[in-house]
Symmetry: C2
Subunit: 268 residues, 2 copies
Amino acid sequence: MKSTIVTAKPGKKIRLSKIDPAATGGIKKDAALARAAEVREKISVLQEALYAEHQRSVLVVLQAMDTGGKDGSVKNLCTGVNPAGLKITSFKPPSLEERDHDFLWRAHNAAPGKGMIGIWNRSHYEEVLVVRVHKLVPKKIWKERYEQINRFEKHLSQTGTTLVKVMLHISKDEQKERLQARLDDPNKRWKFNPGDLKEREFWDEYQKVYEDAINRCNTDWAPWHVVPANHKWSRDLAIVDLVYRVLKQMNPVYPKLSFDPKTVVIDG
Amino acid sequence: MKSTIVTAKPGKKIRLSKIDPAATGGIKKDAALARAAEVREKISVLQEALYAEHQRSVLVVLQAMDTGGKDGSVKNLCTGVNPAGLKITSFKPPSLEERDHDFLWRAHNAAPGKGMIGIWNRSHYEEVLVVRVHKLVPKKIWKERYEQINRFEKHLSQTGTTLVKVMLHISKDEQKERLQARLDDPNKRWKFNPGDLKEREFWDEYQKVYEDAINRCNTDWAPWHVVPANHKWSRDLAIVDLVYRVLKQMNPVYPKLSFDPKTVVIDG
């Protein structure tokens, strides 16, 4: 099986329109589900070691258009792993207190501690995405943010956090189908926000600012990965595979014991 | 199947020594695992509605002796539910900042928001458990805490949070086996803390302060449930069943829509 993920390379620009959101890498659904289950078991073993080692962290950043599959991807990543080692953060519109600080303040606060895997549903990138599309701050401000984000991520990286930045890439048609599905299912209707239709009108602008974010914040220490996400099962497999490869590369080890287990006697 | 859970009733004292930690309610392991899987699916459906309703919360408080199964119970409760609707908190020894506040400050801060299920691995009860056993504060102080805890829980309850307080009840022999198992398994050894043996010497004192906490903080608005926990599969079934019954009783409903789904048209 060929990975569907397009990982941005520093100095080489990504064009979202050149990446097929329906790509599956030639694998069928059943095979993908079975394989994802296997990969999850391997992640679970490595996560246990990461948690025990208690030295480093992983931070998975999930960004996508509305209905792009952020919630589903969080659920996918959490399946089968130890919840004690997860720190999940959903970035909502900033609170009054958060707006009283610089835009990276709340992001830093949400960073995973030692031994933890952090999963961000949206992130500090909203500050160069929705903020740009709707002109919420002047160009002078948002232009500087890319470099500020790169510095922030360099700091996280240097202090022990491996960043895995994922853009879930769906097509405009797929979004239409998913919005319609929300309307049609009585148990999903509450998720439908008429405002999403307004956002949908800005589809092209969003694609452009996503490309900018990916290309300007695509660093050696925190590369971006574009995951074709029209097919949920393909997307899920791609993401667990990506996280598995990251964990394997980190190679976490159980800590040395401060005692000899053979000499320990447990009294009645 | 008969529930193994002993739910404390206000005015009637619980004696832990009268509750069999090995009770299974007459169900066999395979049947219990199958049934727990079914109950989890029902929890998942109700959790979705609780999250959508966005009005009330559930707070599951887990307390137990060392190796009593708190971590396993968190994992059990998280299996199959939407992680976006969970807020998990592990209470560690308080930080300097936390110690600069009253003992309920950090507990309140960790309370689940609307629509969420909070799961606490340890809790504010440590302040009348380990704190009493090791005489970390004078009697004058800890004596007042039961009433303070009751008031705090009454407030949470009145403002929309359903409390589910669970004491995982294991035997001293079972603890011995579990500590030994940690020592014997190279991948579990890191969890073994020689200090746990010191705590084990205080077994009887701990049982006594647990009884006190259960009996003094056993209110109409926040009852305690003692779950026999020697058998993990029986414990897991008992807990999901308890949480399921609580959610069913709450009967969360999907919010009314502010629009008519039939009139919505999604443009190309």
